[in-house]
Structures are given as C-alpha cells and as structure tokens.
Subunit: 200 residues, 2 copies
C-alpha cells in the first residue's frame, strides 16, 4: 500500500481508567492506517512490559513511565509517524513536559464521569481499588488532573464511539495533520475554518 | 526535502568501548539522511537518560537496557525508519533476541583490538577501569562477546572511517535496504551480485 510522507503528530489520550482511551486509540489507529499513514500505539500495558518493567504506581514511577512514553512518541513523531499514547497519564505537568518536547502534540481529553467509569470497570480494577486491594488507583486513591486546554475533548458518556472518533479526525484535519478525504462527509471543523460549507 | 518511503532496517553496531561505533553511527546517519531516508540514532547515553535512568551496569541491567533499545528500534523500523543503535551491547543472546524481534536487523561488528581501544580511550574510561575506579567495564572487568555471524564486519584498526562506512553502505545495498546512487562509484557488492561490473 502506498503510504504518504506527511507531517504527523503525537495524539495523547488522557482520562480516567475505563473512560474509553484504548477503544478510541484503536479506532483512530485503524482509521489513520486506512488513510495510508504511519501509526504506532503506545499502549500503557505494552510500555510497562517493554520500557518500564519494575516501575510501580507511585508518583515518581508514574512520571518516569509517562516521560518514557513521551520520549518514544517524540522519536516516532519526528519521523512522521503518528504516535498514539493511551496511558492514563494523570498528572498535568508531565503531559505538558511531553508536549514541550514533542511539539506536534494533540491532547485528547477523554471525559467520562467517575461514576460511569466505575460502572464500566473494563478490567475489574475499580472493584479491587474500592475494596482496598489496589493502592494508588487513579480516580479512587490517586489523583487525576484534567487537562486545562486540550486540543480535543470527547465525552464518552454522551457520545457514541464513532462520534468521538469523528471529533478527533476533524480536530486533526483542522490542525493540519490530516487531509479531509471522501469519508469526511458533512461539515467538518476544517471546512468551517475555511469558510466553506460542504454538505453531502 | 523529499524523503522516500522504503523498507528500512535496524543497524545494530556492536563492539568494545572506543572501537568506533559512535563515529560510524554518526557518519552513517548523515549519509542516510543525504539519501533522503528517515534515520534515528539510539545512542547509549541518550537512552540511559530517557529510557533507562537508574539502571546500572550489571548483567541484568545491561540486558534490560539493550532490550529497551531493541524495542524502540523495532517500533521505528516497522515504520520504515532506519534505527541505528550504537550501544556496546556486549552479550550475544540479547542481541539475538533483538534480531528475532525486529526482523530487518543488520548487525555491524566494529572490530578493533583491545590494545588499540585502550590507547584511544575516547572517554577516559579505560584508564579509570584499569585503575579499578570503574567496576564492570566491558573489555576489562566485564565480558564482551563478539558476534558469530554479523551481516557486516568493519575493522577500525586497519580501515579508515570512510572505508568502513563504504563497507556498511555496500552491505545495506546488497541486503536490499538501500539503492545504489551516483555516489556509490566503483564496484559495489550489489553490482557484483547483479553480475554487473561497474567502474568509474
């Protein structure tokens, strides 16, 4: 398949456990591949196996883990590969450190109420955290700091996954990292910016 | 600058401290860029700052460090970026593990006698190791395992750096990772393989 050489960015998902980061990251990966772009997901679990074995979940170890993911995203992005991080990354200042290092950085806040995340409990970890079996669990016994100025916010309580993906794609088009193609039907942010009102 | 999308590989330099790995890695990086390819050097020191802070130089920590470099090379190479590792990587089995993971893997053995490396002592570390001030120093108090079947061997005692670089480029052409260009004058391995005897 022909894959084009174009400027890419790091797409940095952040949000509570079970907010929907991994689901959206995988949908986005698939869509970027379909559009012929280079993509790599830095999944929290994979990274903890290959880059951060032995690190725990206290503040210092979490920071180290997120910095490492950021470093790898940096290497990929400057070689025109979309790097997608789907780690919780609860602390604002480390996300901002990565933003500064990487430059082409798009923060996607995956918003979802704690109540709903606890209900979903994809990995069964909230249950354990609420029973006191897991210490330092983000949202329960460890803080989560919301982004102040994320490039993109999705709301997985109110939106369907396809709607959230649409928002992200429109954001990437608007920011100049993607070109709109035939599948971007309807009015996108990009066309609004350009003053064109495209409808299908 | 136009950069082409073509199959890349990991170029894995290995050799004693001061054997010339970093010098050749930098020359190769420059040359690959000149040819319009994506390149990233995973320098031992940079990696120890960004991926392996806190790791020491015992066998286990060295293995972890080399595996991490291998993982990042893997991510880059499968996105058509030449990843160049210039870490000592003294142990054969971890290099082979990385080879198996990465697939498109070209091991470059940078051969140089220990005597000559001690004489060069680029970072002044042999002196300290011989004085007992550094423990676990490769070549002095820690083993170095030569590759058994490296794709490319250069000899920095007998060859000029430009000659070693020529060998590496010819090897990459022969292995199908590079196309010969006008600068590849004279008879290269590639042209020998093709049965063409090009001379300038």
């Amino acid at each position: 398949m022909q894959v084009s050489r174009e400027k890419a960015c790091t797409i940095w998902f952040t949000g509570l456990p079970s907010s929907g980061k991994s689901t959206l990251a995988e949908m986005l990966e698939k869509e970027l591949r379909r559009r012929g772009r280079y993509v790599e997901i830095l999944d929290g679990d994979v990274v903890r196996t290959h880059l951060s074995k032995g690190l725990g979940f206290n503040r210092e170890d979490r920071d180290t883990n997120i910095r490492r993911i950021g470093f790898v995203c940096h290497l990929l992005t400057r070689n025109d590969v979309f790097a997608i991080s789907a780690a919780i990354s609860p602390y604002r200042n480390i996300r901002d450190e990565n933003r500064a290092m990487i430059g082409n950085f798009v923060e996607v806040y995956v918003r979802c109420s704690l109540e709903e995340c606890v209900k979903r409990d994809v990995k069964g970890l909230y249950k354990k955290a609420l029973a006191g079996e897991i210490k330092e669990f983000t949202g329960i016994s460890d803080p989560y700091e919301e982004p102040l100025n994320p490039e993109i916010t999705v709301d997985t309580l109110e939106e369907e996954p396809a709607d959230s993906l649409r928002k992200i794609l429109n954001g990437l088009i608007e920011l100049g990292y993607l070109k709109a193609d035939a599948s971007d039907n309807g009015r996108t942010e990009a066309t609004k910016v350009a003053g064109v009102e495209a409808t299908v």
